[in-house]
């Protein structure tokens, strides 16, 4: 790197300065709403009303809004704890099924050529092209028919049903695993189930990690699906809990709501700081190609 360092002329310094300036301005614009959120979440109700939204709180350790958000004095709607439980429940089962169904489907699609394969791939491609926001009128009828509307399981089946990006990630990874491994296991008398579960699945761990990270972010942050199919309060995910709290008749004070928002974004923000490399890689591999 240092060998490549070119000599700095005034023109280059100016260009570099301009580049940094744009980066700093953009970063400030990104951080400003977050700064306002965080400082306000520490202000007690009175102070929140009296001060503006950019000055830091008098006391950074005032946690009254957070306490009220977690243990509300009057419970209206669902508590944040139950919402985290609902989201966690949905996440665990969606990911479990998604990994199992996605990786096994990818295995068959990558390793075998069979009649109907093209049809299935074509169907997947069509489904990806159809925006989910257009089908709720009919999807809701299907969920109602199956008795799933208004239940957490509606979200689970919708999340793990068809996720072409995950299957793509699995297929790409499977291509890098030589079929010679399968063949030699076949010769030793293993059947395909044994090959898949004992040999292939353990080797898919990096792909599974990518899928888990990307889908966790996607499912945890999703608003549209629960909003459309599971409006019931008791089944509310963290998204729906915030949405209801911010509603006209919720009675939650704004400062408390801000604390709840911080609590909801905290897990993904921390996860992002730790795992950002994998998130970038997953997005680069999965997004545009899909």
């Amino acid at each position: 790197m240092s060998r490549r360092r070119r000599r700095l002329t005034p023109g280059k310094i100016l260009a570099l300065g301009f580049q940094y300036l744009t980066l700093i301005v953009a970063s400030l614009l990104v951080l400003m709403p977050l700064w306002s959120l965080i400082i306000s979440s520490f202000k007690p109700a009175r102070e929140y009303l009296d001060t503006d939204r950019i000055t830091p709180p008098r006391n950074w350790f005032n946690l009254s809004n957070y306490i009220e958000a977690i243990w509300p004095e009057q419970a209206n709607g669902i508590t944040i704890g139950s919402a985290f439980y609902n989201t966690g429940f949905i996440l665990v089962f969606s990911l479990l099924f998604l990994i199992l169904l996605g990786s096994s489907a990818a295995f068959v699609i990558d390793r075998f050529r069979f009649r109907g394969r093209g049809l299935i791939l074509g169907a997947w491609a069509v489904v990806v092209a159809v925006p989910g926001i257009l089908t709720p009128v009919s999807t809701f009828q299907v969920l109602k028919l199956l008795g799933l509307a208004n239940s957490k399981w509606a979200l689970i089946v919708l999340y793990c049903g068809v996720d072409i990006v995950s299957i793509l990630i699995f297929v790409q990874f499977l291509k890098s695993i030589s079929t010679e491994i399968d063949d030699s296991a076949r010769i030793e008398g293993a059947n395909y189930f044994q090959i898949f579960f004992r040999l292939i699945l353990p080797m898919l761990t990096p792909a599974i990690a990518t899928v888990v990270i990307l889908r966790t972010v996607g499912i945890y942050n999703d608003f549209v699906t629960p909003y459309l199919y599971v409006p019931q309060q008791q089944e509310a995910t963290v998204s729906m809990m915030l949405y209801n709290m911010a509603g006209f008749n919720s009675g939650t004070s704004q400062a408390v709501l801000l604390a709840a928002i911080v609590l909801v974004i905290l897990p993904t923000v921390i996860g992002f700081f730790i795992l950002q490399r994998y998130i970038y890689a997953g997005i680069t591999n999965g997004s545009v190609k899909g």
């Binding site: 400003m32 959120l37 503006d52 793990c160 993904t268 923000v269 970038y280």
Partner: protein, 298 residues
């Protein structure tokens, strides 16, 4: 291959695909087909028994006395415009960050951050930021005096769509940045070194080396933005509740289908939009056919 091996192979294919394919059919293919059927009926969202076949009436109505339902489509233009700005900015930042300057990683982290936030949280954060007494006005008051106030989110005014479009840029810029940045990684550094030896400046290097390589990725992102701007739902729904001038096609469609119990009309709207989306994807495929970046890995 022995009979036994053949059977085992078929069994494996069947067992591994039966559940995913059933789910694909039940939760995706069937609803799409049913959408077409509903669009030809006067189904009221509840009672199937009373639904009558009405032919293309819903579609005819959509272009005659239900024309108001299509008006919100024009608001896609705000989002289309902002997503173009977003794409240009993202490309700029991706190129700048790709020089591996000090603190690049920090800037990338910051610019990507809004993308990992919960959708509702992000919407509410922006709603409170742009409130009349929110932080945006507080900051502007530092420069323009204490009486300066902008009603950013007055949903009776068309300009509020600019605020919403800005919220959308804030949230999704990082995504385009990371995708473009990923594409830049495939350009070997020595191409730039060679160009530099020849005395090329940064502007020339961008147009001669960088742009040709990422052109396809940018084009795909652009097409996704076009489709995305037609389907905008979350941002206006969470920030202004899709009221007044900020309603979009998707919001109007869902209102028709669920609140107003006009599933037939809503389905017709969906089919109409679907046709547009299919055309856009068709054009995309036609243009990118045979290019390596979209080679189907299956």
């Amino acid at each position: 291959m022995t009979f036994d091996a053949k059977f085992q192979r078929r069994l494996t294919i069947f067992v591994f695909l039966i559940v995913p394919v059933t789910m694909l059919v039940v939760f995706n293919i069937y609803p799409i087909l049913q959408l077409f059927w509903i669009s030809l009926t006067d189904f009221n969202s509840i009672n199937w028994a009373r639904a009558k076949f009405v032919g293309l009436r819903n579609f005819v109505d959509l272009f005659t006395f239900d024309r108001d339902l299509l008006v919100p489509m024009t608001r896609s233009l705000y989002y289309l415009g902002s997503s173009l700005v977003q794409l240009v900015l993202a490309t700029w930042f991706a190129v700048v960050l790709n020089q591996k300057l000090p603190a690049s990683r920090l800037f990338r982290t910051i610019l990507f951050l809004p993308f990992v936030l919960n959708a509702v949280a992000a919407g509410l954060i922006f709603r409170y930021f742009l409130e009349l007494n929110g932080a945006a006005n507080d900051i502007l008051q530092l420069f323009f005096g204490p009486d300066f106030k902008v009603t950013w989110l007055d949903s009776s005014e068309p300009y509020s769509n600019f605020s919403l479009a800005a919220a959308s840029v804030w949230r999704y810029l990082g995504f385009n940045l990371v995708v473009t940045f990923g594409a830049l990684q495939s350009i070997p550094q020595d191409q730039y070194d060679a160009a530099r030896l020849e005395g090329a400046n940064q502007w020339q290097m961008f147009w001669r080396i960088t742009f040709p390589t990422i052109r396809l990725v940018l084009f795909l992102q652009f097409m996704l933005s076009v489709v995305g701007s037609l389907e905008v739902f979350e941002v206006p729904m969470l920030i202004t509740r899709g009221a007044g001038e900020t309603s979009t096609f998707a919001i109007t469609m869902l209102e028709a289908g669920f609140q107003n119990r006009r599933a037939g009309t809503a389905a017709a709207m969906a089919v109409f939009m679907l046709a547009i989306v299919v055309i856009i994807f068709g054009v995309t495929r036609l243009i990118t056919r045979g290019r390596s970046a979209v080679r189907n890995p299956l």
